[in-house]
Symmetry: C2
Subunit: 383 residues, 2 copies
């Protein structure tokens, strides 16, 4: 058993923290080579003390001394991209949120690393660029998201050409049973009450608008090379069935489990092995009793349509949508936008944006910048 | 694309008829080399005329001339075992019911054939003998039953050592909602009303007693080399989830689809390819709406416990149980036994039988003969 050396980007976020929990539970299989995070220096310092990484970095330059000291003798201040492409790294976990994960992901893939990707925006923004980088550098993308992990597992031992349809399941988010009128009045605090998953703030709001599923459909398109036309969203309130794949012969496979992000994290870390998990809670279907499925309501959750539409259009539409969504969610969380305004803003972005012909990195970053400016202006005009 | 040459044993039964339907729909991929059936000469003659097999056989010797003529010039009267081991056969479909499938299955496996097995009793009676024959002759067992096909598909791309648990789903049969008192009074006609599957008479009664699932657990044990202790039965009335596999890391995979035996038949015939099926009806989970799961009621359906118990005990207990069940079901269908007597008889068989130390073919056939005699005596004493 070779020890895998991990770089964890975004180690203080929801995915980062759970990744370290999984790493701890797996003992000698893993060694933490690098940790990088934003501004939660207190937690990063604690992680550095515990895992003694050789590479450490935080957005907060002022914490450099303290963090290097906590990481132990020989620890080096190493920014995200450098950690991602470090010669000693076997697997790079990208647990950052928003645009921050893009450049490190590209760096890792170009350096031929395996990248366990939890950051949705990376593929949504720049799927073409990322998959190109993976092909050129012989890097490998491993999904961490529960839905994509489910699809991935359903495809083990199958040919890509056998895929007829992918069914992405959606819990429906915090407001799945709300009327349109109620939706207009929800608060950021209410949006944080996700019915089944414990996740970061941005993703929890994205789950509530359902744009999350639009993004996941776009990621699915790039991860598994399936056109958007063959990707469907089905509501499934229990979040037990994590997604399904229908094959050309009519068979359907699904992956199931209690909602627990540590499971897909573990799968990605251990791949291609299935490592026994003594702490697993075996699924008890008789206790679960019922699994529900329903069609999504595009009228109440227009952001889902917008996400799928951006995906079908391709080009830089998804990048513009993702950037605008980041701005919109921030303003919603700060109390400056109503929940229903998020989709309003996104609709305007999508109808105003003009995609670049080439979706190279430059075009993507340009679309991103354009959409952020557009969104900020939109919010300013609204408030 | 190489044409696969098929031998279909039990071609006039439920599985045989559906296999020929699948073969017809797949055009040039298959050629029917041999057909063999029991006493439904009319249907066999029609099949022979349509598929022009080189090998033909029926239990009814008197029909030989007519059948050979229907099969066309050069057609040869060829008994089951000889068809199964024929040098030109690529795949042998064993769709017979009861003990009749055993010797042909062994012959095919010893000759290194792929055997698509729908006949439950073969593995229940003689799993050790059959798997030994497959190993020695380099034959391959492909399951046709929907549950085993589901498990099989869930295991593609997985290691056997990764299996933690297998969850066999059971519709619950015709009487799943009956009280114990009602069960004592049911008629053979009522037992034929299976809620989700169209199957043969014997299997439909076995589904109603739930011994069917005990048999399937034993088959699972042999097909996938998983001890009975790791095989569980879960009630699932819709028969949409055809079975599930839980892996050591806590992930669960399932295979789903509308209940249609032609789907698993098609999988086994086409393996290792997934051949596009234009006629497939894509699963519509939103329309299905709900999937239910429940624990089986061993008190109302004691035959299920008996099946699992025989499986755990091993030796010739399963062979004795299967033989006695065949006798019991025949007498029930003929109106000579009450439905609840079936389990009563099986319980007595299991507690009276003494397993042989070696489960070679001789011991299996001896146990089979013993149980049939015991069961006939039991019925005679009862009536």
């Amino acid at each position: 058993m070779k020890t895998k050396r991990l770089v964890i980007l975004g180690s203080t976020g929801s995915i980062g923290v759970q990744t370290l929990e999984v790493v701890r539970s797996l003992g000698e299989r893993f060694q933490v080579l690098g940790l990088a995070a934003g501004r939660n220096v207190t937690l990063l310092e604690e992680q550095a003390r515990q895992f003694q990484p050789r590479l450490i970095w935080s957005e907060d330059d002022g914490a450099r001394r303290a963090l290097e000291a906590a990481a132990g003798p020989g620890a080096r201040w190493t920014p995200l991209e450098e950690q991602a492409a470090h010669p000693d790294a076997d697997l790079v976990v990208v647990g950052t949120v928003g645009r921050a994960g893009l450049m490190p992901t590209l760096a890792a893939l170009r350096a031929g690393k395996a990248v366990a990707l939890a950051n949705k925006e990376v593929l949504v923004m720049a799927g073409a660029v990322v998959t190109r980088a993976a092909a050129q550098g012989k890097g490998q993308l491993l999904p961490i998201d529960s839905e994509h992990s489910a699809i991935w597992q359903c495809l083990w031992g199958e040919r890509r050409s056998s895929i007829a349809r992918i069914l992405l399941t959606a819990s429906g988010g915090a407001f799945r049973d709300y009327t349109q009128e109620q939706l207009a009045r929800v608060t950021p605090e209410e949006a944080m009450q996700h019915p089944t998953w414990q996740m970061g703030r941005k993703i929890t709001v994205d789950s509530a608008t359902l744009i999350n599923k639009g993004f996941e459909a776009i990621e699915t398109r790039w991860l598994f090379d399936v056109p958007l036309e063959r990707i469907e969203v089905v509501l499934h309130r229990e979040s037990i069935v994590h997604s399904l794949v229908e094959f050309v012969d009519g068979c359907v496979k699904a992956q199931l489990g209690e909602p627990d992000m540590r499971v897909p994290i573990r799968i990605a870390l251990c791949y291609p092995e299935r490592v026994p998990n003594a702490a697993r809670s075996p699924i008890d279907l008789a206790r679960i009793g019922e699994l529900h499925f329903d069609a999504p309501d595009f009228r109440r959750f227009p952001a889902l349509s917008l996400g799928l539409k951006a995906g079908r259009r391709g080009g830089t539409y998804p990048a513009a949508l993702a950037a605008a969504d980041e701005v919109a969610v921030n303003h919603f969380l700060a109390g400056r936008l109503r929940f229903t305004d998020i989709a309003g803003l996104l609709e305007d972005v999508l109808s105003t944006h003009v995609s670049a012909a080439d979706t190279d990195l430059e075009a993507v970053l340009e679309a991103d910048a354009w959409a952020r400016t557009y969104a900020e202006d939109w919010v300013r005009a609204k408030v």
